[in-house]
């Protein structure tokens, strides 16, 4: 199993109209060696930024991120060959009109011969049970089918690490379960952010992110309970208006 190392990582971005940069992640140091790692936390807590660091989509403002020794800034191409990334919305990830063509696009660099490339794409789609959908327009696929297609396209180049950013957010229950089973069968190291606490419980290790910091790091059940407690704290009583100013103006 590979090793992902984050050493004293800060991520800050400039915000229009604000003199000081906004801090997205603050002082993150982690050594990720487990097979399945979950990242949970509220919207805007920094989960996606943390995941984007691992593929080099975001560069740290301070500190370093390495994947099996490759720095995500200095050796970004090598890192991206090792780390596959699945986005929340597969429509923005699937570049080609059909799934087969998208998988073939992934293989363009590694398999030069068109016939061999097509055969390889067919084998990959068959492995994920997507062959019957291979030549359909991606717009005609359901959300779950699209997400699996995006997953197949990323896995076509056989990355050693798979990063998934809230992959089940747009899925219904059945497709969520399908995705869950598919992920469970993968041999890659998985790092996944999710709001689906059932999915989080499948993980070997779960990080709870809050306000740009990892506030809990441990087993799945304990992490989920910690996150539940964190989310419940500060909520208004049942029946109270969540936004008092709107009721006043009404």
């Amino acid at each position: 199993m590979g090793s992902i190392l984050l050493d004293g990582v800060d991520v800050r971005v400039a915000v229009d109209g604000h003199p000081e940069p906004k801090t997205l992640l603050d002082g993150i140091s982690l050594n990720l060696t487990e097979q399945r790692i979950g990242v949970i936390g509220a919207n805007g807590s920094g989960k996606s930024t943390l995941l984007r660091l691992l593929n080099g989509l975001v560069a740290p403002s301070h500190g370093t991120v390495t994947v099996d020794g490759d720095d995500t800034v200095r050796s970004v191409r090598a890192v991206r060959r090792k780390v596959g990334f699945v986005f929340t919305d597969p429509l923005s990830q699937l570049v080609m009109p059909t799934g087969r063509e998208d998988v073939e696009l992934s293989l363009r660099r590694s398999v030069r011969n068109p016939k061999e490339r097509r055969d390889a794409a067919t084998a990959i789609l068959n492995r994920f049970g997507l062959l019957a959908l291979a030549d359909q327009s991606i717009y005609e696929l359901s959300g779950g089918e699209r997400q699996l297609m995006a997953l197949a396209a990323v896995l076509a180049v056989e990355p050693s690490v798979l990063v998934l950013d809230e992959p089940s957010t747009l899925l219904d229950l059945r497709n969520r379960e399908l995705l869950r089973r598919t992920i469970a069968g993968l041999s890659q190291q998985i790092v996944m952010s999710t709001h689906d606490l059932e999915l989080a419980r499948d993980m070997d290790r779960v990080l709870v992110v809050e306000s740009g910091q990892v506030v809990f790091d441990g087993g799945a059940d304990a992490a989920v309970e910690h996150y539940r407690a964190l989310s419940a704290a500060g909520l208004p009583p049942v029946g109270a208006a969540p936004w008092p100013h709107t009721t006043e103006s009404a």
Binding site: V58, R77, R80, F87, V95, E101, R109, P114, Y139
Partner: protein
């Protein structure tokens, strides 16, 4: 976001004569139709060319429904252009302009309906290889074409979604309520597509360039800030 089959038909598997025609011939057909639209001055000739293109499309086995779906989205635009030109320059000129545009659309649809996208990309790469000496990357060139083709239905879908939202709020007559959200959605889509391509390492130099230092090829943004790639 809903997508729409817009203007160009997706590949329809088949073994027809049109499918088997060499790619250069199909490219030539599209380029020829584009050039002819500037040269043809008689609407009867344009009508004849359109009939020929439609026959070629139907000969591919893609079917009249797909042909209709390819042409349907531009019918309102062509109707507006045709009426305006009729008013300004008369019926024959209006008919010629409308028919010439249709010829181009159908010719492009013949190409996309009978050629797998990967074959199309291989063809674009071959065409772009001579430009390598000027620093062009043929693979990146092909990828750009593919993304352009892919983005047309997405933007059409964004427009349709925004129009429905505007209708639901009674703002369908407000152009700002239509244009601005489509613009913002399109920019967001472009950024997401860029992220997705970067994450997959697509459009980057090939493995032969791996020994090059990566540093300096990325935008690190404002000093002290996180840089997006």
């Amino acid at each position: 976001m809903s997508g729409h089959g817009f203007l160009l038909v997706n590949y329809v598997p088949g073994t027809s004569l049109v499918h088997r025609a060499p790619l250069w011939l199909k490219f030539l057909l599209v380029v020829g139709c584009g050039m002819a639209s500037f040269l043809v001055v008689d609407w009867v000739v344009a009508a004849g060319a359109l009939a020929l293109m439609c026959l070629a499309f139907l000969a591919s086995g893609a079917g009249p429904a797909r042909l209709f779906r390819a042409v349907r989205p531009i019918v309102p635009v062509l109707a507006a252009i045709g009426l305006f030109q009729w008013w300004q320059l008369g019926g024959p000129v209006a008919a010629r302009i409308v028919l010439n545009v249709l010829v181009c659309v159908v010719a492009a649809s013949i190409l996309t309906a009978t050629t797998p996208m990967q074959r199309l990309l291989d063809g674009v790469v071959s065409l772009a290889v001579p430009f390598r000496r000027f620093g062009a990357d043929p693979e990146r060139f092909a990828l750009t074409i593919a993304i352009m083709l892919r983005s047309i239905p997405f933007i059409a879908g964004a427009y349709s979604d925004v129009r429905d939202s505007a209708r639901a709020r009674g703002l369908e007559r407000n152009p700002r309520a239509l244009v601005l959200p489509v613009f913002i959605t399109t920019v967001a889509y472009a950024r997401q597509t860029g992220d997705a391509l970067a994450a997959r390492g697509l459009g980057e130099p090939g493995p032969e360039d791996d020994n090059e230092e990566d540093e300096g090829t990325q935008d690190n943004g404002t000093p002290g800030d996180a840089g997006r790639r």
